[in-house]
Symmetry: C2
Subunit: 243 residues, 2 copies
């Protein structure tokens, strides 16, 4: 008998465009799970783990999540992104992923790569986003090595993404890219002001950051087979939630 | 004996980021070939075919192109994008693609899909960009069907991309997506002002266009498994050439 699990869900919204990473631009629904084993200083979804979103968090089964996706998104989607927090804290998430696959829905998921789950092998587009020094977190290389090995052996479509705020982060990104040379590698310009509420001010700030990152990477001989992307949703909708 | 071909090259630049389509954000060198069998009213590289770029066009061998890429880009790249005009007008382009592969360089190429070339099967990331009604061009569906079939049979990594300016273009995009349902499908917001020289004015105009396209696609039940992207380079650098 399979025990039906419940997952801590803090928000379900969409369809909207995925604003970043390997499937940037994809029309998708978002499921945001609560809880994280990290506490990055610049976390743009701290409400998933700092207690402030506790009241919004509901314990839902896969079936209930699927129903709510349908209620919110109608028939206008065929792709779902699971984000957090860190969804890799949830051991039985295959119940949700398989249920979505049954409906012909593709599933993307992002995690920092601190913990393995066997259901990683079911995810259609998996992003591992190890955190650079500016986050104040420390990477567990042993865990990350094991995850990359298993995904590579499983021939999954996955990628690495490093958010870059400064020179130290860029050096960290280079070391990640060197360590996992064959894995699709994305650099993302960091949003260092997750409180700014004026969208135009934020836009120009984020664009300057992105141009800096582009120019730095273009000049580098250590970063050649890489992709450099912004957070498109932040350019368009600023720091608002639910986009 | 292989005859060494010469190709009409109008510009070689980079490294820069690919601003659009299936490998958006990729660090790449650009080779732009001269000549097109179309004359889209909003063509953003009309200088490749309207006579205005004639003086800049040089007939180069694959070896000369590879040398010039190295002279311009140093050792800071491992990806090359071939664009036009329509590079599919050039029958012996495998000489260039194979030469680049010999150096471990990945090759992307974009064409409107009006003509097949056997070397399409060598391209690492091929974008077919059939032109919507606003271009004033007419799609040759027989040619496009054949191209899509051959690329599918060859198990190549390719995608369809339709630039959308208005409602009629969107209906065209839906018909393309319906016809080739299994092919990765990208929608791109069109730049309807390739003459605007004020970058900020252009940026806000392009962003409005992109938001319109995003909102329209998000509401559609006919466009679910799609990606909607801007032209990132135009947002950043406006209508300047060489970016
Ligand atoms: S790993 Fe992600 S969700 Fe967790 S604290 Fe860092 S940025 Fe926030
Ligand atoms: S097919 Fe491309 S290069 Fe040719 S006219 Fe149209 S937009 Fe310009």
């Amino acid at each position: 008998m399979t025990v039906v699990s419940r997952f801590p869900v803090i928000e379900i919204f969409g369809p909207t465009v995925q604003g970043e990473g390997m499937v940037i631009g994809q029309k998708t629904m978002f499921i945001r799970t609560a809880g994280c084993d990290y506490s990055c200083v610049w976390c743009d979804s701290a409400f998933t783990w700092d207690g402030s979103g506790k009241k919004e968090t509901r314990m839902l089964t896969a079936e209930e999540i699927v129903d709510e996706l349908r209620a919110v998104g109608g028939n206008a989607y065929s792709h779902v992104t699971i984000s957090g927090g860190n969804p890799a804290l949830l051991p039985r998430l295959e119940q949700l992923i398989e249920r979505l696959h049954d409906d012909g829905i593709r599933v993307a998921l992002e995690t920092q790569g601190s913990k393995w789950q066997d259901w990683f092998l079911l995810v259609d587009e998996l992003t591992l986003s190890p955190k650079p020094p500016s986050s104040t977190m420390t990477t567990d290389w042993v865990a990350l090595d094991a995850i990359v090995s298993k995904l590579t052996a499983g021939e999954r479509d996955f990628s690495l993404k490093v958010v870059v705020f400064d020179e130290a982060d860029l050096r960290y990104a280079i070391s990640v890219h060197r360590r996992y040379g064959n894995v699709a590698f994305f650099l993302q310009a960091g949003n260092d002001d997750v409180k700014e509420s004026d969208t135009t001010t934020l836009l120009h700030r984020l664009m300057r950051k992105y141009v800096w990152l582009v120019e730095t990477v273009m000049a580098s001989e250590e970063l050649t087979n890489v992709r450099v992307l912004p957070q498109l949703h932040a350019w368009l909708w600023g720091n608002k939630r639910g986009y």
